[in-house]
């Protein structure tokens, strides 16, 4: 049996989505603008906060801007490639449309994860790039080494993979529950924890919380590790967390794959 070319299939999906997005061009532009304006408000908020303090948990203003840019990179990628598909999965389960996906001679998880690309979400990617170029030279005492330019994109990519795994895990629940409308809400509330430097979770409640979101659901390493790589001068004590991030990524991918397969077993078609 011939294996389908996964890359070829994906490129076709991406092209079709782009054609579809370009058919409704005004909508595309407005969507891009609105996601950008959300980020501007976020920046406004932190600019405000930094009027009262020189740093938050050891992150100076421009270092934190790098942190925000990293958040934007990762979120825009997740929202462009996985978010629309995972929302669609819940609908596929409810209507029985998943039957078609199961029948196709291609990996089901691949198919339901990547069928649609939401190109307008990549607007934030560009903004993040601008923000990065603005913020990095303004960090006091930062010595950049070529390694940082290698490690940063790599760990951004690993972060995307971790978030994808969490998302697959959440979406799989819609197969069990039959319907999961609050998926997006839940997603927002969980990832909300990852949008802050992990050092702020400190104290009686904070430390257990930090451990929970580092070791059990590793969402804290998603943004923290790459952001630290670029915003701070490279040092040896980052290596432990960096090594852990690799392990966490592999484990979460495997776990999400397992959860997805388990969930598929309990899928009972609907309304056919």
């Amino acid at each position: 049996m011939n294996h389908p070319s996964y890359l070829g299939v994906f490129l076709t999906f991406a092209r079709n989505s782009l054609i579809r997005d370009m058919t409704f061009r005004t909508n595309f532009i407005i969507e891009a603008i609105s996601s950008v304006s959300w980020m501007i408000m976020n920046l406004g908020f932190y600019t405000l906060v930094y009027q009262f303090t020189p740093s938050i948990a050891d992150w100076s203003k421009y270092e934190f801007f790098v942190f925000i840019a990293t958040t934007m990179f990762i979120n825009s990628i997740v929202q462009a490639f996985f978010m629309p598909n995972m929302q669609e999965l819940s609908e596929l389960v409810r209507t029985g449309g998943l039957d078609y996906a199961l029948l196709k001679p291609i990996d089901t998880q691949f198919l339901v994860s990547l069928q649609r690309v939401n190109w307008s979400s990549l607007g934030n990617f560009v903004v993040a790039l601008i923000l990065l170029v603005y913020a990095v030279p303004r960090i006091d005492g930062l010595q950049l080494s070529p390694w940082q330019f290698v490690l940063y994109p790599l760990y951004v990519f690993l972060g995307v993979l971790i978030l994808y795994s969490v998302m697959v895990g959440l979406a799989a629940t819609s197969i069990w529950l039959g319907r999961n409308q609050s998926l997006y809400d839940f997603w927002f509330y969980i990832t909300n924890f990852s949008r802050y430097p992990m050092e702020i979770y400190d104290g009686t409640w904070g430390t257990p919380l930090r451990h929970l979101f580092t070791f059990v659901i590793p969402i804290l390493v998603v943004i923290n590790v790459p952001a630290r790589f670029l915003a701070k001068t490279l040092s040896a004590d980052q290596s432990l967390l960096a090594a852990f991030a690799v392990v966490a990524t592999v484990l979460s991918l495997l776990a999400s794959r397992w959860v997805f397969k388990q969930a598929l077993w309990s899928y009972r078609s609907a309304s056919s």
């Binding site: 909508n27 407005i30 969507e31 603008i33 609105s34 304006s37 959300w38 408000m41 406004g44 908020f45 405000l48 906060v49 009027q51 009262f52 303090t53 020189p54 740093s55 938050i56 948990a57 409308q181 609050s182 809400d185 839940f186 509330y189 969980i190 909300n192 924890f193 949008r195 802050y196 430097p197 050092e199 702020i200 979770y201 400190d202 104290g203 904070g206 919380l209």
Partner: protein, 271 residues
């Protein structure tokens, strides 16, 4: 008159029952909504530690947390999920026609449905809210004066009215532009930022502080919370309450004007 009251009562009852269908999902959703507060608590604690002071523009660390908890309550009154987009959808797919041919007023119907939803919401949410407030009781400065508390309650109820009529007016824009999703998103951002849901509005530097005073948004979250915490008091408080009433009246009027203008403009095709 009696028949009319009966109609409205029936609408209210149906809406309550409709809302109770998904009560489990709902209670869970309410509890989850407090999660962002947890991160805000940690964030502001870190800010106060780094700033090395216990006072930011008159807010102590506990004040800030109490403020966020109170704005949650205020937003429970003033936020209207799905109201404007619901109106827009009805205009787009033609469902709006039923309000034109049946002797039921669109705004009145929506208001009743919303009241029913909110009442059920408060019944279900009372548990999670009470729990969180009890756990966080040490952050609050204590009960305010009865008169201040009365103003607080009034401003909460008014924030419901303001939220409803403001968002309904936004929804009416759909009579002119069929696709208003992005517009509503921008509106949502504005309310989030300028209502004080994101941070106490006292933190804003000039000229923003003054600009925010001239917008209706701050009465949807900031004002009730600030009244409770004594950040707005005396004549300022009463003046604020008057302005809030003014905004409610303004949007009741605007919403109705837009509905009537929209009805005149609207043309429905097909069955």
């Amino acid at each position: 008159m009696l028949a009319r009251a009966e109609t409205w009562w029936t609408i209210l009852k149906i809406s309550v029952e409709e809302r109770l269908v998904y009560r489990g999902d709902f209670a869970l959703g309410t509890l989850m909504r407090f999660l962002p507060i947890v991160t805000q608590i940690f964030l502001w604690t870190a800010v106060f530690v780094a700033a090395g002071s216990n006072d930011i523009k008159g807010y102590s660390p506990t004040d800030i947390i109490a403020y966020y908890l109170l704005t949650m309550l205020a937003r429970a009154f003033s936020s209207m999920p799905g109201l404007a987009s619901g109106i827009a959808r009805q205009v787009r797919d033609g469902e709006i026609k039923k309000f034109m041919i049946q002797p039921i007023d669109l705004v009145g119907y929506l208001l009743l449905a919303r009241i029913a939803h909110k009442v059920v919401y408060y019944l279900v949410a009372a548990g999670p809210f009470a729990l969180v407030y009890y756990v966080c009781r040490s952050y609050f400065p204590g009960w305010p004066d009865p008169s201040v508390f009365a103003v607080f309650v009034c401003s909460l109820l008014l924030s419901f009215a303001l939220g409803f009529f403001l968002e309904a007016s936004m929804g009416m824009i759909a009579f002119w532009f069929l696709e208003v999703t992005s517009l509503l998103f921008v509106y949502m951002l504005f309310t989030f930022f300028f209502s004080g849901h994101m941070f106490p509005l006292d933190f804003l530097p000039e000229p923003w502080g003054t600009i925010v005073d001239f917008m209706p948004f701050k009465y949807m979250a900031y004002f009730p919370a600030a009244v409770f915490l004594g950040k707005v008091e005396g004549p300022d408080m009463w003046q604020g309450l008057m302005v809030q009433i003014g905004w409610v009246a303004f949007f009741i009027f605007t919403c109705r004007r837009m509905m009537n203008a929209g009805y005149r403009r609207y043309s429905g095709f097909g069955g």
